[in-house]
Symmetry: C2
Subunit: 201 residues, 2 copies
């Protein structure tokens, strides 16, 4: 009971994260994949999404495919724009986590400071996943031919070639795609989610 006059139009508060987790039988959160181009982030994200979806999880991937031409279409490739790019991804991922999703983001995100901002946005629901493969390995795979173009000088500031990649210092999870094939890499993700996102009965 509230003795003060109240605005009759404010009746309920919004549905909160615990109510959504209870409904979904798992917590929301962000699985933030970081690593070099060619390390396998996008593949790992999409395969993890599929496996989790089929197990009944609520899961969504954020990557260049759905952000570069939409939310981030007005950003270029300057350092400032890359930072803003990652900042926006971090904020959107945090919204998806709040909405109860396991949000798997797949961006190189080479700078520790940018990843730290994304962590701040999602708070304790942020999980950094280092998709580990060294430059030599990624360059050998070079699925999009980007390393070859970067070596020819056609792509300025290419991470791992002409721009730095700051290795995660204490990621919640490391998936070594040099040692693990895609199936085992996905299994690492599933085991992690099972342990960290599922509600205990």
């Amino acid at each position: 009971m509230n003795a003060k006059p109240t605005n009759i139009f404010t009746v309920h508060s919004r549905i909160d994260a615990p109510a959504r987790a209870e409904r979904n039988r798992h917590k929301g959160g962000v699985l933030w994949l970081t690593g070099l181009s060619g390390a396998g982030k996008s593949t790992l994200a999409v395969e993890t999404e599929r496996a989790l979806f089929e197990t009944g999880y609520h899961v969504y991937v954020l990557d260049g495919d759905n952000l570069r031409h939409g939310l981030n279409s007005n950003l270029g490739f300057s350092h400032e724009d890359r930072t803003e790019n990652i900042r926006r991804v971090g904020e959107v991922a945090a919204l998806f986590a709040d909405a109860g999703f396991i949000c798997v983001s797949a961006f190189i995100s080479p700078y520790r400071a940018d990843r730290a901002s994304a962590r701040t946005a999602a708070r304790e629901s942020f999980h950094e996943v280092y998709v580990m493969a060294d430059v030599a390995t990624c360059e050998r795979r070079d699925p999009k031919g980007l390393y070859e173009r970067a070596r020819r000088g056609e792509i300025p500031d290419f991470t791992g070639v002409s721009a730095p990649y700051e290795i995660p210092e204490s990621p919640e999870l490391t998936v070594d795609t040099m040692a693990l094939d895609i199936e085992k890499s996905v299994q690492r993700m599933l085991d992690y989610v099972e342990k960290n996102f599922t509600l205990s009965d």
Copy 2:
């Protein structure tokens, strides 16, 4: 079968909207609430969210509470920044729709062009909802005291007082909060959702 060499790391495509709709038993989409300050958008959004959630829908509200201090924290109140604000909301709402959610957004969004951009982002899953109340009514309610401050000249470019509100020309739904109380207003929303988002068996 594909005769060209394929990247073994690209195995599956992402989970698409129809698969999510099938899982959820309803389509995703955007309910874009537009109207004056005090028209009842936020209340209607939150009450609709609660009612839909309790009926089993997957639903999430985007409003100033979760966007102004996060994704849009680097925007001010210039016309250009307001447009960018609405553009980002439109893109994020489209992502939530793609993820299978009914995304209820609650922003004044006074300009037709900005709302048209948001519609473009979400394509056919966009539903404009005009939360209708005239200036006199909103000013009488004035739950946050904003009209009083605007009349005193303390808030520049205040929609309905010193900046225009462009009335929707053909909204998918109009909720007249001068004629309907909150309960009936929410019921209008629920009826609309039931008709337009539920999958037929």
